[in-house]
């Protein structure tokens, strides 16, 4: 790691002891994201004249903010060094259950609460399995539960869809306060809450610590199991919230809703500088990366770029973004260039 400064006696210098350095401040990943955001906006403005318009940007927000709801808790999951690929299936299952409840005559408000409970339960199941069986990796467990949750959704609704929700329900996805969409307001509140949780509470500091090393954290008295369980449960709950917004936006629910969302969500988190090796990242970065990916997609869509080409661009952007910090730390070393030209000489 480049930023781990060592003292002469071999102990690591903690960030707070290092003091402020302008160079380190300017080399932060967030500036990179700001730069990307500026470039994306310049491209969008120059190609589509109607882009730089408050209403249009607000409408664009509605397009991708349902994913953003899950991005914040997912950042916590990835910060732990874990992963949750079942979020899209939780979205499908909870929205389908909401639809089924509504169809069977339960009032919409209660149906929404049931959906949220289902999402929470799904997240809890993921968490409890991971806590009880520590040797299982979260990738495998959530891979299996992903299949199960979507499977249950398709048992419930088969290939049908449920729609015809009351008109107030549509306000979640389409409603506005003034000219700001409700979903944007929700995301801002949620982002602030998660930023507070991560950066200003014991819980957040412990999450960072667990991302660095679970064993060390446990030996220093952190209830690692509890934190892991809470984070996965909250991820389930927020997936259900996202499902409510998505169902409201689409006006109906189907078992195959939100397919492939988990990959977009993980991409947003990783582009935001949260390290899936654990223990690194912050909420500001994820917010910026949500905007970068979301606005890029929206802008490219405006100028009629095929969605497949957008796929290529987003994929390439993800890889370049992740490769740059690695390149930065390895280009300084002479072996890096040599390794391309000839074999690295063995170190003694």
């Amino acid at each position: 790691m480049a930023e781990q400064v060592m003292k002469s006696d071999g102990t690591r210098i903690v960030a707070s002891e290092r003091g402020f350095s302008f160079k380190r401040f300017i080399l932060q990943w967030e500036w990179m994201l700001v730069l990307m955001l500026v470039i994306v906006n310049i491209i969008n403005i120059s190609f589509s004249p109607n882009y730089a318009n408050f209403t249009n940007v607000m409408n664009a927000m509605r397009d991708f903010l349902d994913k953003a709801i899950v991005v914040f808790p997912m950042a916590f999951v990835i910060m732990l060094g874990e992963i949750d690929i079942s979020v899209a299936s939780i979205m499908a299952l909870s929205s389908v259950i909401m639809g089924v409840c509504f169809k069977s005559g339960i009032p919409m408000g209660t149906a929404i609460i049931i959906a949220l409970l289902v999402g929470t339960a799904c997240g809890f199941i993921n968490g409890i399995i991971l806590v009880k069986f520590k040797q299982l990796s979260s990738m495998i467990v959530t891979l299996a539960t992903q299949i199960i949750f979507r499977g249950i959704a398709s048992i419930l609704l088969e290939t049908n869809s449920v729609g015809g929700f009351p008109s107030w329900f549509n306000q979640f996805g389409w409603g506005k306060v003034g000219s700001v969409p409700i979903i944007l307001i929700f995301c801002i509140v949620e982002g602030l809450f998660f930023a507070y949780l991560l950066h200003f509470t014991k819980f957040g500091r412990r999450t960072y610590a667990m991302g660095n090393s679970v064993t060390v954290s446990r030996f220093s008295g952190i209830k690692t199991d509890k934190i892991k369980l809470i984070i996965f449960t909250v991820t389930g709950l927020m997936s259900a919230v996202a499902a409510v917004f998505l169902a409201s936006k689409m006006g109906s629910v189907r078992p195959d809703v939100a397919k492939g969302y988990e990959l977009d969500i993980i991409a947003m988190v990783v582009l935001g500088g949260v390290s899936s090796a654990g223990g690194k990242g912050n909420i500001l970065g994820t917010v910026l990366s949500i905007l970068v990916i979301g606005l890029l997609r929206y802008g490219l869509g405006l100028i009629n770029v095929q969605s497949q080409i957008i796929m290529v661009i987003v994929g390439a952007l993800l890889i370049i973004a992740v490769a740059i910090p690695n390149l930065k730390s390895s280009i300084g070393r002479p072996e890096f260039l040599k390794s391309f030209i000839k074999k690295t000489p063995a170190k003694n």
């Binding site: 990738m139 299996a144 499977g151 390149l327």
Partner: protein, 330 residues
């Protein structure tokens, strides 16, 4: 007696899988009124699982290095699409050339993944996730959003999936060949053993003189080549190539590996286990329609069985470890 015990403890994974497979087979045999264990159905079963089994060997190598490859579904689609587009434009091309082209496409894709993971040190899950989007997008661009259908494919090419060698279906024969090569490669060659070493601990491997970057790169390249081969076989078997070919297939392959006892944290996994894992998934796919499990239930049942077998394996492994510790009389 001691030898039997030793054999049992070192093969717990495979033996328990075999037990589960036997149990499921007997159950399905009775429930379906004897339609499961007929020679015809078993032949179908092997043909259906062949492609999954082929891919599992490659995925196993990648997972052993503590990596993962999420891009294989997209690589399969790309290789299948480029292969069949060539065929569409020139019907006279021999199937061998088409297959070689597909393997070449897959190899190039794998090389790119390998460079990203080994040289640029991008985490495998992120690198292959990004490349999955890229490859899938390129597939759409190559195809122009269209399909290559059966009437665009030559009879010789379609015959690859339906024909047989020595009474064994070609797909199964290719799978057997890949497994024999994989078994020898991973167990009896230096490079194969080095893959395990890198997966156990990259640092120790590097210190002991293994060129870890090369090994990492090689395992992704081999995965790519295998995905290319599997992709063209997939397209050949279903007689259609499109942008959506094999979407999400990587999850099946990872599931087969995990069922077969490959540890996601790297360094552990055996060819024989992975074969059983792939067969088990194949049996589930084949048996559920036979005992009238509705289409909508099949997904959930499959997921539940994966989850249960992973958990039960964790419990078995824990007990075995506890027993092994006790036997040492500390």
């Amino acid at each position: 007696m001691n030898n039997i015990k030793k054999f049992f403890f070192s093969n717990v994974r495979e033996l328990s899988l075999i037990l589960v497979i036997i149990f499921i087979s007997i159950f399905v045999q009775f429930r379906s009124g004897g339609n499961f264990l007929t020679s015809e159905n078993i032949r179908d079963l092997f043909t259906e699982s062949a492609i999954l089994a082929i891919l599992s060997v490659g995925m196993m190598m990648v997972i052993i290095t503590a990596g993962i490859d999420l891009s294989i579904g997209a690589v399969m689609a790309l290789a299948g699409m480029i292969g069949t587009t060539l065929l569409k434009n020139n019907q006279a091309l021999s199937p061998i050339i088409i297959i070689l082209v597909a393997i070449l496409v897959g190899t190039v894709c794998g090389m790119i993944n390998g460079v990203l993971v080994s040289r640029l040190r991008i985490l495998p899950i992120i690198a292959t996730l990004g490349m999955m989007n890229v490859f899938r997008g390129i597939t759409y661009i190559v195809s122009g959003g269209g399909w290559v259908l059966q009437n665009n494919m030559s009879q010789a090419f379609l015959g690859v999936a339906t024909g047989s060698i020595l009474g064994i279906n070609n797909l199964v024969a290719i799978a057997i060949l890949i497994y024999v090569i994989g078994y020898i490669f991973l167990n009896y060659t230096r490079t194969g053993r080095q893959i395990y070493a890198v997966g156990n601990s990259e640092e120790s491997a590097m210190v002991s003189g293994i060129k870890t970057k090369k090994i990492l790169w090689l395992s992704y390249t081999l995965m790519g080549a295998i995905a290319g081969l599997a992709g063209i076989l997939y397209v050949c078997k279903f007689a259609a190539a499109q942008g959506e070919t094999a979407v999400g297939y990587e999850m099946n392959v990872i599931a087969a590996c995990v069922l077969g006892g490959v540890s996601i944290s790297g360094g552990m996994g055996r060819v024989q286990g992975v074969l059983l894992g792939a067969l088990m998934l194949g049996i589930l796919n084949n048996a559920m329609p036979l005992i009238n499990v509705s289409v909508f239930w099949q997904e959930a049942v499959r997921g539940l069985i994966i989850l249960l077998s992973v958990i039960s394996n964790a419990i078995i492994q824990r007990n075995v470890e506890v027993k092994a510790l006790r036997r040492r009389n500390i």
